[in-house]
């Protein structure tokens, strides 16, 4: 039991940190620009595919730097030539643009790389067990993922809260014209913010690609849960997203580990009732419903605390 708890905690934290790495970009973009970017998971996927391709050509470490930059460049182009023009038509237009973009990116990726999983390997330098707990190996690569996520979290927080850049970026959202009068190019600030947000998603893709599966549906697989994270954590709140990511990672992992069902708590139903939908519900284990738990959480949060855990504004 202790073994399962320790391993599940580790797994949960790891998955949570990956979620955070993904949602941090989304949160930054949302809190700075008020744009809910539906294509965010697609940038993550682009990161993984760019990472895979560059790894083939020039190796993993250069790819780790270059691929997020490329994804950031794509993001900036999207902001400059897409979002900036739709901005004046309001949030719905922006939302629809990113929504369409998500589909377009998925199609383009599957056209170029096909639909089969890529053979994207963990770099040899990190392909060894870092440590062993209860005879379960912990891959060094997962620790690497964890470290990158923590570094990004700290760096983002410091940049936004403690530096001049963060000050200008935050001011540009609430008082764009005033910031403009002070001599800052507000358009460029937005473009850079969007680029950084996309690059973060790209970075998550490059490092998650070898560990999870790199194929053209990976965006669709992770996309929905990102929204759970940022809504649950509070729209636009970076610490909120951090806590929510960890919580969701842990909840999902621990739910899988539990075999409890209503039947195991209250005893099996009277067999004379015969098979019915009720007996099915009665016997469903927590492990079986693990994947939907985050969405249940999303619904509950929206009902009881619409601003999320640490959010400041109403969604």
């Amino acid at each position: 039991m202790a073994e399962l708890i320790v391993i599940s905690t580790l797994n949960g934290v790891l998955f949570g940190m990956l979620l955070f790495l993904l949602s941090s970009g989304l949160t930054v973009i949302f809190s700075m620009m008020g744009v809910l970017n539906f294509a965010h998971a697609s940038f993550y996927m682009l990161g993984a595919f760019f990472g895979y391709q560059l790894t083939r050509w020039i190796g993993f470490w250069p790819a780790l730097v270059l691929a997020p930059l490329l994804v950031g460049a794509v993001g900036m182009a999207v902001e400059r030539y897409g979002l900036r023009n739709t901005h004046k038509h309001g949030h719905v237009a922006e939302l629809l643009l990113t929504f369409g973009l998500a589909f377009a990116i998925e199609e383009i990726v599957s056209m170029i790389w096909g639909k089969s999983p890529m053979d994207y390997r963990i770099p040899a330098a990190l392909d060894f067990p870092a440590f062993t707990v209860f005879s379960t190996n912990y891959p060094a690569y997962k620790i690497f993922m964890l470290v990158v996520s923590v570094v990004i979290f700290v760096a983002l927080l410091i940049t936004l809260k403690r530096t001049r850049v963060g000050l200008i970026v935050q001011a540009a959202l609430t008082h764009p014209s005033m910031v403009g009068h002070l001599g800052h190019n507000v358009g460029r600030v937005f473009m850079l913010v969007f680029g950084v947000g996309s690059a973060l998603a790209g970075l998550a893709g490059v490092i998650a690609g070898p560990s999870l599966v790199t194929q053209s549906d990976m965006a669709a697989l992770l996309g929905p849960i990102l929204f759970v994270v940022i809504v649950f954590g509070g729209l636009g709140s970076l610490p909120g997203a951090f806590i929510a990511s960890l919580l969701i990672g842990l909840i999902q992992t621990f739910a899988v580990a539990l075999n409890g069902s209503l039947a195991s708590v209250f005893g099996p139903l009277d067999p004379s009732l015969g098979p019915s939908p009720l007996t099915d519900i009665w016997n469903v284990t927590i492990a079986q419903i693990a994947p939907i738990l985050p969405y249940v959480l999303l619904v509950l949060v929206l009902i009881f605390r619409p601003m999320g855990l640490l959010g400041t504004r109403e969604s």
């Binding site: 391993i7 999983p117 053979d119 560990s211 999870l212 697989l221 899988v256």
Partner: protein, 412 residues
């Protein structure tokens, strides 16, 4: 002069006849070409296209060229029905599908209804991989033919092998949460209890189909259970990712699988270092030792750039041709009648037969293990450039691979 109209009519008839003889025979391929099942769907498509080319090079079926029409169902039953209807509207009389028994059951129902409502426009459903036993038992249909061994047949063979392995003491079951996975889990429980009452089932897990990106939590659970063997019917990315997570965690158990050889599986097994500890049950293996099959494999790998993952697709297409020639027609009703009880020499050697009672094809079944290949001359084929390949450990003849059916078929 007065014969002219007759001559013209005769000419028109002959032209018409010639035109219909050249008419292409379209086969609707309904399988996932996007989403989590895409990797297996694309592999199947390549296989069928290769087989169609092979038949066409030899004059097609009764002079008809074969064309495979890809229809993407996204592993979704609802989407499959839309695609099947599209195929019917386009005048296609043969559909083939394999991935996902939920999809298979929906299609079986579709062809049954379609054929009773539209006499003269019958559609046949050739199933090459959906192995839920109910499709040839209580839900059986005259219009459905299955070339893959049903899940029960596979489990029967697999447990027959497992019962002679004294090292197996604690078994963990992990399967996809839908009809096929559930039948694997219940049959495994039943058969293991009957054949090896001393074996303990230490876990019985169902997880969502093609939705999980990281199996580490499940691996932790398997590890905590103290299992020495895992039995799984997982396919597609679910088996590849499961093995990958096991490799990462260093889980050392024996794996008894249906589909460990699917895309990504061999690479993951190589990473686990589990040399000849992952077993797979199938109707053929690349290193079967049968010369014709190995020649086919070689040519297939050269042209399709993948290993032959569906020997049953080869059997399906070749048997389709044999049945059409026996019936001397490509009319689905006649082909269906000709397929019943048709005996056929399968790709990997040995005779198979399409049982009339339930339209299940019975053929020799192989259990193979994945690992280093000692003799490169005898076992030349590795998988996914890992250097490891499939090694035959047990062959079950057709006669011993038979299971009873409860099918009460409604015949037209």
């Amino acid at each position: 002069m007065r014969y002219l109209p007759f001559a013209m009519a005769a000419a028109v008839l002959m032209l018409g006849g010639a035109a219909s003889a050249q008419e292409t025979l379209k086969i609707g391929y309904i399988d996932p070409l996007s989403g989590g099942g895409a990797s297996v769907g694309e592999g199947g498509l390549k296989t069928f296209q290769y087989l169609a080319d092979e038949l066409n090079a030899k004059g097609g079926i009764l002079g008809h060229k074969i064309e495979i029409v890809p229809l993407d169902n996204k592993t979704n039953p609802q989407e499959s029905l839309v695609q099947a209807q599209k195929a019917v509207d386009a005048g296609i009389h043969y559909i083939t599908q394999g991935n996902g028994s939920s999809v298979g059951a929906a299609l079986e129902d579709f062809v049954t209804k379609n054929n009773s409502r539209n006499p003269g426009k019958e559609v046949l459903y050739f199933n090459y991989a959906a192995v839920d036993p109910s499709m040839t038992n209580e839900k059986c249909s005259y219009w459905h033919f299955r070339w893959d061994a049903s899940s029960d047949i596979k489990m029967e063979a697999l447990t027959n092998y497992m019962k002679d392995q004294p090292s197996i003491k604690k078994v963990y079951l992990i399967n996809q949460d839908y009809s096929f996975g559930q039948s694997v889990r219940s049959e495994a429980r039943k058969m293991l209890a009957a054949k090896r009452s001393d074996v303990q089932i230490v876990g019985d897990e169902l997880h969502p189909l093609l939705k999980i990106t990281d199996f580490s939590p499940y691996i932790a659970k398997i590890k905590a259970s103290g299992a020495d063997s895992v039995v799984t019917g997982n396919w597609g990315q679910d088996i590849a990712l499961l093995l990958k997570a096991a490799a990462d965690a260093g889980l050392k158990v024996n794996w008894y699988t249906y589909y460990a050889g699917g895309a990504g599986g061999p690479t993951a097994i190589k990473q686990t270092g589990l040399d000849h500890q992952v077993f797979q049950i199938s109707e053929g293996i690349p290193n079967s030792g049968n010369k014709a099959a190995m020649d086919f494999e070689k040519d297939f790998r050269a042209k399709a750039n993948m290993s032959l993952w569906y020997p049953r697709a080869v059997n399906e297409m070749r048997m389709f041709k044999a049945a059409a020639e026996k019936a001397n027609s490509i009319d689905p009703v006649k082909v269906a009648a000709a397929l019943e009880d048709l005996k056929f020499e399968v790709l990997d050697g040995g005779e198979g037969t399409m049982r009339k009672d339930d339209h299940q094809f019975f053929q020799p079944i192989y259990i193979s293990s994945f690992g280093t290949l000692a003799d490169k001359a005898k076992e030349p084929f590795d998988e996914e450039n890992t250097g490891w390949g499939w090694h035959l450990v047990s062959k079950i003849d057709t006669a011993h691979a038979m299971v009873p059916t409860t099918c009460k078929m409604k015949r037209p």
